[in-house]
């Protein structure tokens, strides 16, 4: 099994290439060649010994907010500078058991708060397809790692679209599983009721294999669901290039507003035609509360974040502002210096919407509207729709530094935040290019219906072929 070690070694070579390091695209935050090669050897021995492994020797890049041994877990923040987790995320433990080998930690928006990978304390990441542009965010490093060919698969995390949006910007496949499908244990929390570990891959099939390898109930995550995990992505293979006869795909009008760029719309229309050509029944549907997703999201996520980030206080781990005269000053100095502007802004908003006198107007109200958004999906899926098809983002990758207004940046999550709020699974796959920039198409299915999601995505992927990347 020499080639497992060689494969991993080559992946580490690519991850340590200066072109993807901090002087170049700035995709990778950390590597550990020795640890990766040692892991590869172990897999090699086990695999050679006859162990069945779904991902034997598959090199994988992991977003830096997922706890791993051997490499730091900084969340792209100064407040976790040089912090290495003394335990590993359940998702990582499971991927290792399936034979995957972690080769690098990738750059990200600080604490996953951003849609461009510009808020990282370790510098912005550039889009491999056009270094002047953002790879999207917050999992921009992992998306770029797959786009740049460092590895074929990578882990990202989602709270409001942080896998699907960068997948669309970088022309790769991006999956957000159902909330509860993959354990969050070891994923550094941002918005606990929204967070989910997701996958970047070159193909739908690979994305499914990694998703299923991580999935399943976990005793350490009380929000992980005890729902059977599909055995293998073999069924997707069976559907590749086959028909979608009997499958109903809904096209929600709210995701195709008048303002949508004509070339984006044209790409989506072509994809819809391709789906129709595969035999799918295409129906127009409505998800009337869609426009409220961004306001709801930007109440709930910061509220939860303001509480989740309270643990970064300089007491038990991470750097501490040592020049403080008393506890109060130590807290303030550590946190004020440790967090970047966007993180501070969201902590303040989150604190405000939970504070006395504002809770009902903001937080409680947002949770109620969230239930309406969720109900929109329930109704559509109950009406016989198997999957929804939408554009993943309103625009292709924007230029680095182009979006300066916080709320304008938040609006890039407009088509993705809904799935996080409702907890349903969603996937973005490349459906073509506009002026050389990738465009992503999104499929959304009902809770725990990843098999259907992968099936329709794989069918479209097969039909589009090279067209998806041109």
């Amino acid at each position: 099994m020499e080639n497992i070690i060689d494969n991993v070694s080559e992946a580490v070579d690519r991850a340590t290439d200066p072109k993807v390091g901090s002087g170049g695209l700035n995709i990778i935050i950390a590597t550990n060649r020795e640890a990766s090669l040692s892991a590869a050897e172990q897999v090699s021995v086990a695999y050679g010994g006859g162990d069945t492994m779904a991902l034997a020797g598959v090199p994988i890049v992991v977003k830096d907010n997922i706890a791993t041994f051997d490499m730091p877990t900084t969340c792209g923040s100064r407040i976790l500078a040089a912090y290495t987790s003394p335990y590993e995320a359940t998702a990582i433990t499971r991927l290792r058991a399936a034979g995957a080998v972690v080769v690098a930690k990738s750059n990200m928006d600080e604490f996953a708060m951003g849609s461009s990978t510009e808020t990282s304390a370790y510098g912005m990441t550039r889009n491999p397809l056009d270094p002047e542009r953002s790879p999207g965010g917050s999992s921009g490093g992992s998306a770029a790692a797959v786009a740049a060919g460092i590895t074929r698969v990578a882990l990202g995390t989602e709270t409001g679209g942080s896998v699907r949006q960068p997948a669309a910007f970088c022309g790769v496949v991006g999956v957000k599983p159902t909330y509860g499908r993959v354990s969050r244990f070891g994923l550094v929390a941002f918005g606990s009721s929204l967070d989910q570990i997701g996958v970047f891959a070159r193909t739908v099939r690979e994305a499914a294999a990694v998703t299923y390898a991580m999935a399943g109930a976990d005793q350490y995550d009380s929000t992980s669901a005890d729902v059977p995990v599909p055995v293998a992505p073999a069924e997707i293979e069976a559907h590749r290039g086959k028909t979608l006869n009997g499958v109903t795909i809904g096209i929600p009008s709210e995701y195709f507003p008048e303002s949508l760029d004509a070339p984006m719309r044209a790409r989506c229309d072509a994809a819809i035609e391709a789906l129709r050509g595969l035999g799918a029944k295409i129906v127009d549907v409505s998800l009337p509360h869609t426009s409220l997703a961004v306001p709801v999201y930007y109440v709930i996520a910061p509220a939860e974040a303001s509480s989740n980030l309270a643990r970064f206080d300089g007491v038990r781990y991470g750097p501490r502002a040592a020049d403080s005269i008393d506890l109060r000053e130590m807290y303030e100095n550590t946190r004020t210096r440790g967090f970047g502007d966007e993180v501070k802004r969201r902590i303040l908003i989150g604190t405000y919407v939970l504070s006395h006198g504002y809770y009902d107007a903001y937080y409680r109200k947002a949770q109620a509207v969230r239930a309406l958004i969720s109900r929109d999906f329930d109704k559509v899926f109950a009406s016989g729709v198997d999957a929804l098809f939408t554009p993943t983002t309103p625009t292709p990758a924007f230029k680095l530094g182009a979006v300066t207004d916080p709320y304008e940046m938040y609006m890039s999550d407009i088509f993705t935040a809904t799935a996080n709020l409702a907890g349903v699974p969603a996937i973005s796959i490349p459906i073509g290019r506009v002026e050389g920039l990738p465009v992503g198409g999104q499929f959304i299915t009902s809770h725990f219906d990843e098999p259907r999601m992968f099936q329709v995505a794989a069918a479209l992927e097969a039909t589009l072929g090279d067209e998806a990347h041109s």
Partner: protein, 99 residues
Amino acid sequence: MAVTETDVRKIADLARLSIADSELPAMAAQMNSILANMDALTQIDTSTVTPSVTATPGGAPLRPDAVAPIPMNSTAQLLAPESRDGFILVPRLGTHEDV
């Protein structure tokens, strides 16, 4: 519901973040501009829904009462920025005088 500079100061205090006086007006303005977008929510009739606590179906799973700590390859003392005799040390609260 406009956020005032006093509000920002109070919130920052609760969140243990310090904001320079000179930055308060800008921060208040930014928060107001973000929160203005949330006002759309107030118009929505939500009388027919009860929000759920988590997106996961069912109740909290109950763990058997066994001593089984999650293993760590480090210790509290080693992780802490400052420690002595096994204790984690922090600067004393301003309200506690030295003995």
